[in-house]
């Protein structure tokens, strides 16, 4: 039963998801920024470095998004199939969805980090 001191369900819902995506975003920001700076130092060409690191970020973001929606679309079915077949895998739709959300955040972070460092260089 909900207590009066409990946070509202919507807020809790948003906070959990923001933490998931946010943690990925922070890691992505660092990776993107460092990757952009390091690649530029290595190649000496900021424009091509931006294109490469940003595109890699978009790739991670895109696959994360596909995996996230795929988990929602087919995850329960895969869980039911595993249960039906009696396999002892610990894979769950919830875990997959969360991992993919974090990956999305990471990809987005890389794109943002790259753009910030590219603007500064």
């Amino acid at each position: 039963m909900a207590q009066s001191g409990d946070p509202p369900r919507l807020r809790q819902y948003v906070v959990v998801r923001a933490q998931l995506v946010g943690s990925g975003l922070v890691v992505g920001l660092l990776l993107g920024g460092l990757g952009m700076a390091g690649w530029t130092l290595y190649t000496g060409d900021a424009r091509s470095s931006e294109a490469t690191v940003f595109a890699l970020g978009a790739l991670v973001f895109g696959f994360g998004l596909l995996g996230w929606s795929g988990s929602i679309l087919a995850g329960r079915g895969i869980e039911a199939m595993q249960e039906h077949m009696g396999t002892r895998s610990n894979w769950t739709e919830r875990d997959s969805r969360r991992a993919m959300a974090r990956l999305c955040g990471g990809g987005g972070g890389i794109m943002v980090g790259t753009s910030i460092v590219a603007a500064l260089l």
Binding site: A58, F61, L65, L66, S69, M111, S115, A119
Partner: protein, 360 residues
């Protein structure tokens, strides 16, 4: 039952709208994800669009001017957002090379019907052959018919299109001269661009067999069907094999159920029991395979169209990648993704109709 109750029963949705809306809404992140991956891959791939447009002999100034015009000198995040916005409006600009000067949208709208027609015929061949073969194989389990069907199905699954296509061309076109090697219709036949319905001029669909029927041109229809037969067989072999295998195993599971035994014990005929109680229940997993298979047929069209020289989406994407026509590559990949996801939504809805428990 009065007429209002009858009307309500008639319009009562077989699948809850909420289920369908949720599935349709999930299309948005899928397409957004595909668009991001396409953007990333094209930016990571070697090649310069400016050189594709201007040619190898263009000066550095000309190339730079083209890059500025194409927006390639803008920051990447700006290019990415602009690409997503264009993708959302299905506007990929103009083709650089394979249909220079024409919009990608028009290139795609010309070629989608060709690929869809091929996939539909391949799927029809797969369903019409695969379902009866699977049922017969299950009913006559461990008989000679079953063994032959299973070996045939295994062969069909194992043989890739890029091998079976040229072999069938070699046998039926080169040696036996029964079917044409390529094309969609005899080169001496020309179809008009419109057809007339009640005095109104309407555009043709682009699906050649349907168009020839609409035009009432029997000779052209026979020629189109003749040209389409071999590609449809090639693309449908894998589908037939997979559907028959799936139908066999599903049917075997169903005919051993208690309710089938009960129906038989109550005196119902074997064929009626099989078709009335067995078929619909055995069909549930097969529908999923059929749906997913339709998506695979679309990707199989890439190989089939290349082998048979059919100018559909498959050949277009291969040619566009070869000549670095990026707008066409982006447009065709997203169209394939859209078709694939729409087919999957349709499969989900059909599946939930056949087995309402899936909606929970």
């Amino acid at each position: 039952m009065n007429w209002t109750q009858s009307l309500f029963r008639l319009v009562e949705p077989v699948v809850p709208p909420r289920f369908v809306i949720k599935r349709l809404l999930l299309l948005i992140p899928v397409l957004f994800g595909v668009a991001s991956v396409v953007f990333a891959i094209l930016h990571l791939a070697p090649g310069d669009p400016a050189i594709v447009i201007a040619g190898q002999r263009a000066s550095a100034e000309q190339l730079e001017q083209i890059r500025v015009e194409l927006g390639l000198r803008r920051p990447l995040w700006e290019q990415y957002l602009s690409f997503l916005w264009d993708a959302a409006r299905f506007d990929f600009g103009q083709s650089y090379s394979i249909s220079r000067g024409n919009s990608v949208r028009s290139v795609i709208s010309d070629r989608v019907p060709i690929t869809l027609e091929l996939a539909i015929y391949g799927q029809a061949a797969g369903i019409l052959l695969g379902l009866p073969l699977g049922i017969i194989s299950a009913v006559k389990q461990d008989s000679l018919t079953d063994h032959v069907t299973r070996i045939g199905a295994l062969t069909g699954i194992s043989v890739p299109i890029f091998w079976s296509g040229p072999l069938l061309i070699l046998l039926f076109s080169t040696y036996l001269d029964v079917f044409p090697t390529s094309g969609r219709i005899k080169s001496t036949l020309f179809l008009p661009e419109t057809w007339t319905l009640f005095g109104r001029e309407l555009p043709l669909t682009g699906m050649i067999t349907l168009d020839t029927i609409l035009l009432g041109n029997t000779e052209a229809f026979l020629s189109a069907a003749h040209h389409l037969f071999l590609p449809a067989v090639v693309i449908g072999v894998y589908s037939t094999a997979l559907i028959s295998r799936m139908m066999r195993s599903s049917m075997l599971e169903v005919i051993r159920q208690d309710y089938i035994r009960t129906a038989r014990a109550k005196g119902q005929g074997a064929k009626i029991t099989l078709m009335k109680h067995g078929f619909r229940n055995a069909l549930i997993p097969v529908v999923t395979v059929i749906g997913i298979q339709f998506g695979t047929l679309l990707s199989g069209a890439v190989l089939t169209e290349t082998v048979f020289g059919i100018n559909g989406m498959g050949l277009t994407i291969v040619t566009a990648i070869g000549v670095s026509d990026y707008p066409v590559v982006q447009g065709t990949v997203l169209t394939f993704a859209l078709l694939f996801t729409l087919v999957n939504v349709f499969v989900d809805v059909t599946y939930s109709y056949l087995d309402p428990r899936i909606q929970q």
